[in-house]
Each structure stands twice: as C-alpha cells, then as structure tokens.
Subunit: 312 residues, 2 copies
C-alpha cells in the first residue's frame, strides 16, 4: 500500500474520500507526488470513529518522525453528515472551492492537521455535490475558459455551468444508478446483459437519437426493450445498448440549457465517456474530453496553494 518516503520531504497529504474508497497522495514541497495509497474503506463502510485510524493506516509511514502538524486536505463524502465531520455545503453561485471555508477536523494524533473541502449546494432547484467541486477547481487551475459547460458522467452525473470561474448552477442526473437498477433488477433484466465496455455502436446511437428527439418518452420507451427481446429475439447486448442510449440521450436532452451553443468539457475516461461523447456528437455538440484522474489532485493542490498564501 505505502512505500518508504523520507518524512522530511513531505509537505502535505491529499485525500479523496468517497463513498466506496479512499485515495491518498503524499505531496512534496515542490508539488511532486512522493507516494500514493488507497483503501476500500469508503464513507459507506465505516463509522465516525474509524476515520482517523483508517487514515493513519495509509499514511502512518509518511509521517513517522514528523513533529509539526502536516496538512491533510480531504474532499468527498468524508464531509457528509454521516461522514467524519460534516462540512456544511457552500451555496452556488460561488467558486468551486474557497480556502477560507474549509472545515477543520479535530484529531487525536497531533501530527495531523485535517481540513475537509465542503461540497456545494443549490437551492432552486435543490441539488448537492461533494467531491466534484474539487475536480472543477482542478479544471480551472488548468487552461479551461472561465465560462464553460462541464459534464461529469457517473452514478449521479453532474452538469455544471461555470461563469467567470464560479459555479453558476448545476444539475445531478441519476443516469448511472438508473442504468444499474433498471438493467439489473427490473423486468428488463431478462432482456439485458453483457457489458457496455465496447465502442458505442448503431444500437446505442439509435436509442440516443430517439431519446434526444423525444426525451419525454423515456418511461414509455423502456418496456420496448423487453417487448423487442420477446418479439424480435433482440440480444441482451442490444438491450443493454438500448437502455444505455435511452438514458444518456435523455440526460443530454434534459441538460440542453448547459450545453446549448457551446462545447462540453467531458470529465473522465474510458467507455462511459466515449458513449457520452458519441451521444453529444449526435446532438451536434462538440465534446472536449478531459482526463479525470488528475483533476481531484489538482483541485486539492489549489487548496494547499491557497493555504500557503494565507499563512505564508
């Protein structure tokens, strides 16, 4: 999990503590990644008392012999009410992260100085995010325009409109969770199978186009997947591609106010992002794929840089 690191070189620790996992990075004074580690002890699996020991399990070697408090900057669900310490949402419109609105966490180990990056909330319509705000900060630290449309596909996809470097508004769409539930547990499960790891083909594109043209008909279209397997012996892979296309197409249609007239920065990698990019292309929208893996770390580094400015 961890490797030997000269404690003296450690400047701070970055932590992405989500629902299902924890990832940590040891960062040197020059900003370089000295080491990294991960654990499956996500927020969904542990209680409040487990956070500090879980963190120390991963970073204990990094802080051996260290005296002064080491900043540990945490984003994600560790800041939820059921997490380590609740980090109250900041309300949009606002910058993705604010170095003077971090939530401090008391620890028994005095070598740790833990801060949690709060998530964002929106009051009308009501919405929340935790973790994505840090990726947005990472994106803004790069060369992205201060006004942009952003899509982060996933279990609960997020669509974001950045204006002047602030999050103006956002919307969560439960596409990934609906795909898993409908495909795995509804009557459609008999007509759905295989993986969605392959390139988006014509079945996917046809379904996405159908949903883009008539997004109001999603719930009236789903049962056709079952009927098609009964009447036309459509394959489980066809069923899977159709469900995926209908849900992603519906999501893109519903999020038109975010992308109309401008390209979409699509954060992530792999087959899922390829599907979103293909469906966006059907809608006539340019997709700029941004590799998601480094954005969380880049966003946490922005927070660390801000801390240094405030406490030089």
């Amino acid at each position: 999990m961890t490797a030997s690191t000269t404690p003296l070189a450690l400047d701070w620790v970055a932590a992405d503590w989500g629902t299902s996992s924890l990832r940590v990075w040891a960062i040197g004074a020059d900003g370089s990644v000295l080491d990294k580690a991960s654990s499956d002890k996500g927020m969904g699996k542990i209680g409040k008392a487990d956070y500090e020991p879980t963190l120390l399990e991963l970073i204990g070697q990094w802080i051996e012999g260290v005296t002064g408090p080491i900043p540990v900057i945490v984003c994600g669900m560790a800041g939820a009410r059921q997490g380590w310490t609740e980090a109250a949402y900041r309300t949009v419109p606002c910058a993705p992260v604010s170095v003077d609105e971090l939530t401090r966490v008391d620890t028994a180990d005095t070598r740790l100085s833990v801060s949690i990056v709060p998530g964002l909330c929106q009051m009308k319509p009501e919405d929340v995010m935790r973790g994505e705000e840090t990726q947005l900060a990472g994106l803004l630290a790069g060369n992205i325009a201060e006004n942009a449309a952003i899509c982060l596909p996933g279990t609960h996809s997020k669509w974001v409109s950045l204006e002047g470097g602030s999050v103006a508004r956002f919307s969560s769409v439960m596409t990934g969770e609906l795909f898993a539930l409908i495909g795995g547990q509804s009557i459609l499960r008999h007509s759905i199978g295989g993986t969605t790891d392959r390139e988006p083909g014509s079945t996917f594109l046809n379904a996405a186009n159908q949903a883009l043209a008539d997004p109001a008909s999603l719930t009236a279209s789903l049962f056709s997947i079952r009927a098609r397997s009964l009447l036309a012996e459509a394959s489980p892979e066809d069923g899977s591609d159709t469900l995926s296309g209908l849900l992603i197409g519906t999501e893109i249609a519903a999020c038109r106010p975010f992308w109309e007239g401008r390209p979409v920065h699509l954060i992530g990698a792999g087959p899922l992002v390829a599907r979103y990019a293909a469906a966006l292309q059907q809608a006539g929208v340019e997709a700029i794929v941004e590799d998601g893996s480094g954005l969380t770390l880049a966003g946490l580094a922005q927070v660390r840089a801000g801390m240094k400015e405030f406490t030089p």
Copy 2:
C-alpha cells in the same frame, strides 16, 4: 378457498392467471357466479408441470362427478412462454379477443377443456400485453364507445387506443415498477417513505404539474428529492409524493397521443386510480373511472359466449 357447489349447475370456469396469483370463478349456465377461489401460485412461482394440479386444487370440488369436459377459459401470464402453454400474441390492430384464436391446452384430466386467451403484440414500437386484452373485451361488452382512450395504471401501465372496437395501438409504461425500484432501492430510498394510500395532495400535484410541463426532465429531477431532504429536511412522505407525481405526470405527458382531445377511461380502483385521475385533471383531461375488478370476468364471459355461438 372453495365452497360446495352443485356440479350440475356449472357451465364453465373463468381463470385469471397472472404473474403473482391465480383467481378462478365457477360460472353457471345463466352466467351467474356460483363460487370463486384464489391462490398465490402465480406464473412467477410455478413450473409447467404445476399448472394442472394447481388448477385442480382450486376447482376440484366444482367438477366432482362431472363427466363432460368443462370449459376453463384462462387469461393472463399462464399464456407466456414460461407459462402453462405459450399462446402466441395476436398482432394489433385487432379486436381485443377472438374466440377462434384461443390456444388449447392438453390436460391429463379429461374433465377439463382448457383454452388460453392470447395476449396482444404491437410491432412498431414493439410492445406486448397479456391479460389487459381481456379487460378491454369486458369494457367493450359494456356501454363504452368503440373509439376511446383507455389507461390501466399498474406495475406496467397500459395506454390503449380503441378504434371501431379494435385495439389500434397501445403503450406500456413502467411507472409502477420504477416507483418501487427508485423509491425502494436507489439513493432516494433515504428520502422516501410512508405510503401513497392517501388522497393526492399539493406535493403530488405540484410534482405532476412539473412533469406535465417538462416531461423531458424526469431523470434530471429525481435527484432533487434527495437534495431537498438534505437541504430542506423534506419529509419521507413528501419524497414519496414527489416521486409518484413526477412519474405519473411524465407518463401522462408521454401518452398525450392517446388522450388528446378526448376523455380517458381509467380502469381500476383505489388510491392509485385517484392519483391518475387527479394528474389527468391537471392536464385538463376528463377521467372516467371504470371499476376494474369485474372487467376480466366480463371479458372471459365474452369469450364463453362466443364459443357457444360457434359450437351451439
């Protein structure tokens, strides 16, 4: 389950064999219901070899001492591929039932003469129904107009357009199943609770109106139920009413081609039908509630009457 019936009075047996249950009625020569019985041995719980014994368990007393074959007319999922004997779908447009297109079932007990009423299929867009076609026949046997819009709310709601007494087209909407899945198993389950047995109130109506005005946004609206419970401490009952309103409103909006410019015959009873009636009213549509309980029996009686005409 069953009561004593004079075997001599029995003319035929009506059976509604669905996924989750079996209901049977003993019908006399004058069309009166002599007795009835039911079992939870629906199609989903039994294998092919279990059908005849299951039926005999319920109707054995009725046919004691009977010699000549007693017609048993069955509708529902017993005619599915995984059921007793597959009754191939009849393709719309067509009359809901056709007495010369019944599927005969061979039985070991020669006192039984079993016929299954086939379901209906539609090729474009693909759709299927099993059981509802018999309710439609029952409805047409009453005083309903031969051109009408019909809605049968349920796990998989059916919308039907009758033209000249035929089923011109229909559409299945997975509203009931989606409500159960999303409310019971998605992240929204933490924000949803209580029953939906109460009268449709303002939270339901507001959500239905929102969906009627913007049905394309369903998947983008669902997460607000979670966010509202986090940010505004909305009650689980509010969450439940909102989910119900969003799904029913979306269904009605998607099925506009069925109801536009005419009233809807709403088949069923109880709180669910009250919700559909209230949501239809929000859309400016008149709902004519038809009690669903007797329609299956009325439809099966239509088949029996047709048999007598063909074999007097």
